[in-house]
């Protein structure tokens, strides 16, 4: 965990409205696991004030990539960065996905930009596990599959793949997936909620990567609570997560 001024290698709009920003950092490249994230200062000024958290999306050599869409002021500024500029980032933060283990089939479930962390995860496990990637989006234009393998897609408007939501698609297909399964998921809260409700019921091991408002990103502000199932209180998304076992926390 470090603050570093990294140099931007490239910023590109990979498909309409979706950007990939790549920075170079030897230390970060060596230290980062799939599912971890970085807290990025988007401007040298204090506007916007807080850093913005982004998952590591891909990692090649010394290059780390982040995938995002333009949401508000912060991501707008990021999308306008140019190669050669410097970016002040803190990371790697939190705990990544539990990629080790006895499971044979890794099932990725992502909605919208929730796909962001999975290219790197895919790279890390594709030689060891069979991967099934369930990717949902509003429409074919919004569907991101770059760096993803064995894709089962679903769109809200049916413009490509399954006409409906990605969790329903997974339910349809789950019986075709062989062996011990483990689900890795990330996406909008309603999707994660319906997924974990079902997964906890059917008893497949499952990890979810959560998003929430964050001030610090590394455990000093207590701003990012995730409520525990056992009623004992909260864990911190930034420090104890962002990846949690779906049995552990309440998604609401």
């Amino acid at each position: 965990m470090r603050i570093e001024k990294t140099q931007i290698v490239s910023v590109s709009e990979v498909q309409s409205g979706i950007f990939i920003l790549t920075v170079e950092s030897e230390y970060f490249a060596a230290a980062t696991l799939p599912g971890q994230f970085f807290n990025i200062r988007v401007s040298e000024s204090l506007f916007p004030l807080l850093r913005r958290p982004f998952s590591i999306s891909d990692l090649t050599g010394k290059n780390l990539s982040f995938m995002f869409d333009v949401h508000g002021e912060g991501t707008k500024i990021l999308s306008q960065k140019r190669a050669g500029e410097w970016l002040d980032i803190i990371g790697p933060l939190g705990h990544g996905f539990g990629i080790e283990g006895e499971y044979e089939s890794a099932i990725i479930v992502a909605g919208g930009l929730g796909v962001a962390p999975f290219p790197y995860l895919t790279k890390k496990i594709r030689n060891k596990k069979k991967i099934y990637s369930f990717i949902g989006a509003r429409s074919s234009r919004h569907l991101v599959t770059q760096g993803i393998v064995n894709v089962y897609s679903a769109t809200d408007d049916g413009t490509t793949g399954y006409y409906g939501n990605v969790v329903d698609l997974l339910k349809l297909k789950i019986s075709e997936i062989p062996g011990i399964k483990k689900i890795f998921s990330c996406g909008p809260t309603p999707m994660l909620k319906s997924l974990t409700d079902w997964v906890n019921f059917v008893g497949i091991e499952s990890e979810v990567s959560l998003e929430c408002a964050m001030a610090c990103g590394f455990g000093i502000c207590q701003g990012c609570p995730a409520e525990l199932h056992d009623g004992s209180g909260y864990k911190l998304v930034c420090k104890d997560g962002p990846v949690f076992n779906s049995q552990e926390i309440i998604i609401s």
């Binding site: 200062r41 204090l46 001030a215 000093i220 701003g223 609570p225």
Partner: protein, 304 residues
């Protein structure tokens, strides 16, 4: 070399830069970025007698040059603090100030009584001003009698440095500083956060579960500075200035206005190495301006 040190009561701060309560936990994580041996001190997250879970999400909201928080005093409680947090903190060569937040004057006194026996603890900051809990908190912070009773009660059980952290959500903060001074408090901290809120126009709900939260960050600096100045002009008591500090110039402003020390809060989230770096910048400023003793600037603002 400029002398940056500040002495309040019998506690010597290496320099006037402290880390503010609730913005650095108990030092564990921030020490990855900021060398605690290089700063004046660290103020712990508010401690209560028993652990508190804190508020449900959402706890924070970004605002223009500021942020709202409604953490709800999530903390490990005094016992766990002593067991797992203090030993680690004690390893640093810096001042440890325990911030205490409680629901009753008795709880403030009880916490202090327990903690004051620890030699590693250099002093207390009594938080009578947290806007984010129903019991205690702001209810005390804008009640002169409550502040009087709490200060007197805590004073009676500790000889250590006793700081009372004041609420800005009052008409005349200097009245509160006066009460602290009268009851034997050694210093006041000013300011805690301003009460604010934010509404999600889509859901029509307040963004914070707690409805209101505390506003911090650069947005509040002018207000904090005016409160420090008001206290300085009216009461003779050392002041610890807090509120929106984001660059070394801000610290000099606070010192000129009357602060003996300052605390860095929200800025720790943005630049967790800020406090360490800013000490060097202040030293540089003093040298360039031939200021041999920094604390001679305290209150040196030239008023008309």
């Amino acid at each position: 070399m400029t002398d940056l040190s500040v002495k309040i009561k019998d506690v010597v701060f290496r320099n006037p830069v402290l880390l503010a309560s609730g913005t650095v936990g108990y030092g564990d994580e921030i020490s990855n970025f900021c060398d605690l041996n290089k700063i004046g001190g660290i103020v712990t997250k508010s401690l209560s007698l028993k652990p508190r879970k804190g508020n449900p999400p959402q706890r924070i909201v970004e605002t223009a040059s500021g942020m709202l928080n409604a953490i709800g005093l999530a903390n490990v409680g005094v016992e766990e603090f002593l067991k797992t947090k203090l030993p680690n903190l004690a390893g640093y060569d810096t001042n440890i100030i325990c911030n205490i937040a409680a629901s009753s004057p008795e709880e403030y006194i009880e916490c202090t009584r327990i903690l004051t026996t620890e030699s590693a603890i250099n002093g207390f900051e009594i938080n009578v001003s947290c806007p984010n809990v129903k019991d205690g908190g702001l209810e005390f912070g804008n009640n002169l009698d409550a502040v009087r009773r709490i200060t007197a009660g805590v004073r009676a059980v500790t000889d250590k440095l006793l700081i009372v952290k004041l609420s800005p959500n009052v008409a005349r903060i200097s009245d509160f500083a006066r009460v602290v001074s009268e009851e034997g408090g050694d210093a006041v901290s000013a300011i805690n956060t301003l009460v604010g809120t934010s509404i999600d126009i889509r859901t029509r709900k307040p963004k914070l579960f707690n409805v209101t939260g505390g506003l911090s960050g650069p947005a509040i600096k002018p207000v904090a500075l005016a409160k420090v100045l008001e206290i300085k002009r009216n009461v003779r008591i050392p002041i610890i200035g807090i509120g929106g500090i984001s660059k070394w110039e801000d610290i000099i402003e606070f010192i000129l206005a009357g602060a003996s020390c300052i605390q860095v809060g929200t800025m720790n989230f943005i630049s967790p190495d800020f406090a360490e770096k800013v000490v060097a910048e202040i030293a540089g400023y003093c040298e360039q301006n031939n200021i041999p003793v920094l604390n001679e600037l305290t209150g040196a603002v030239r008023l008309p």
